[in-house]
């Protein structure tokens, strides 16, 4: 392999920045979920688990999770049925 050392270092730094670009917004969501304030503002106004508590206590949220899981399983089953058939019949 002919990649020079300098190129490798530059590529590694670039990759670290790119992975940061991918993960920083997700980290912001996670940190914001423990925010004590009630707006999506940065920086957070203190630590609190009230939003997690409210989400778990909310029956609509729990039902939505169950619905999502059922839909995911059904969609996977249908895709598993049709996908191989479509690939096989080429």
């Amino acid at each position: 392999m002919t990649t020079s050392r300098g190129t490798k270092v530059a590529l590694s730094i670039f990759a670290v920045i790119a992975f940061a670009f991918v993960y920083v917004p997700l980290a912001v969501v996670l940190i914001s979920s423990f925010n004590a304030g009630d707006t999506l503002a940065w920086p957070p106004q203190g630590f609190s688990t009230q939003w997690w508590g409210k989400a778990i206590d909310n029956e609509g949220v729990r039902n939505a999770i169950v619905t999502s899981v059922i839909l995911g399983l059904v969609a996977t089953a249908v895709a598993l049925l049709f996908g191989p058939l479509a690939a096989r019949s080429r």
Partner: protein, 291 residues
């Protein structure tokens, strides 16, 4: 020997009737493809030539080209169309600029035992909900108390805020994995012997990159661009959440489909036609075999 050829092995019904077997295998996927998928596209295209009763908004099934004439003669609609096209091209270019070095790093610089982990790290955000990711970027981009504005304020700078730039950043974020993965696969398939041959013939790194690597991974890049381009072209939720006052093609469709379904259908036909044209152009590059 004669005895065995006189009694050929007996197979089941499918073995003796290869055409029936093929029909049975094809029935389900063909029904799916033709009725559900192509059927809905055909319905969209047909609706675009109808009109509505101006008073009740009921669809009137008379043939007319008025919807397409309105789309192409109203400056605001033309502007929206061009803006959407520009955003989709910009997102594709930014994804490309980010994806090629990252994919090269993953496939050729990182240690082989790290590769599965890196691929998993690129795939993981696809598991997060689309809306969560768009709202994450709303939290990043908010002008006064967003993360970027907060980070840049000590330098006396403001964040990009909501608008076209915000849409481009968010869509780039959403579709980046779809560009990285095919390009990564292209770099993995690139034979080392070709790079060795290039070096043996006296080519330096940049020359090898330009004359060997780029032509070899070009189909993978085009395969990725099909995803980034067509997904950006049809998106409208991102524009609603981080676009500020900027609207895209899909927003016009969304605003009209209740009151004027034929007009919305005519407008929705445009991205379909653009994507089909794009597919026709890139078909020759061999990218469709790399999806």
């Amino acid at each position: 020997m004669a005895a065995t050829t006189a009694n050929p092995p007996k197979g089941g019904f499918g073995y003796r009737h290869p055409r029936a077997r093929l029909a049975a295998l094809l029935a389900a996927p063909m029904t799916w493809l033709v009725v559900v998928y192509l059927g809905s596209l055909a319905a969209l295209f047909l609706t675009a030539f109808w009109t509505v009763d101006g008073f009740t908004s009921a669809v009137v099934r008379t043939f007319t080209l008025d919807n397409f004439i309105e789309v192409f003669t109203t400056p605001a609609y033309l502007q929206t169309m061009l803006r959407t096209l520009g955003i989709a091209v910009a997102v594709t270019i930014v994804c490309l600029v980010l994806a090629v070095p990252v994919a090269y790093f993953m496939a050729r610089v990182a240690r082989p035992r790290w590769q599965p982990l890196l691929v998993a790290m690129i795939l993981t955000p696809l598991w997060a909900s689309y809306l969560v990711k768009v709202y994450a970027w709303r939290a990043m981009l908010t002008p006064e108390n967003g993360v970027i504005a907060w980070f840049l304020s000590p330098f006396g700078l403001g964040g990009p805020g909501f608008g076209e730039l915000g849409i481009i950043i968010t869509l780039t974020y959403l579709w980046l994995p779809y560009m990285i993965l095919p390009v990564y696969a292209g770099f993995i398939r690139l034979p080392n012997s070709m790079l060795d041959a290039s070096a043996d013939l006296g080519a330096k790194g940049w020359r090898t990159f330009r004359s060997v690597i780029i032509p070899m991974i070009f189909p993978s890049v085009v395969a990725g661009s099909i995803f980034t381009f067509s997904l950006s072209l049809g998106d409208y939720i991102t524009a609603q959440i981080v676009g500020g006052k900027v609207i895209m093609l899909g927003n016009v469709v969304q605003q009209n489909y209740v009151t004027n379904l034929p007009f919305a259908a005519a407008f929705a036909t445009i991205p379909v036609v653009i994507v089909l044209m794009y597919l026709a152009i890139v078909r020759r590059s061999g990218a469709l075999e790399n999806l």
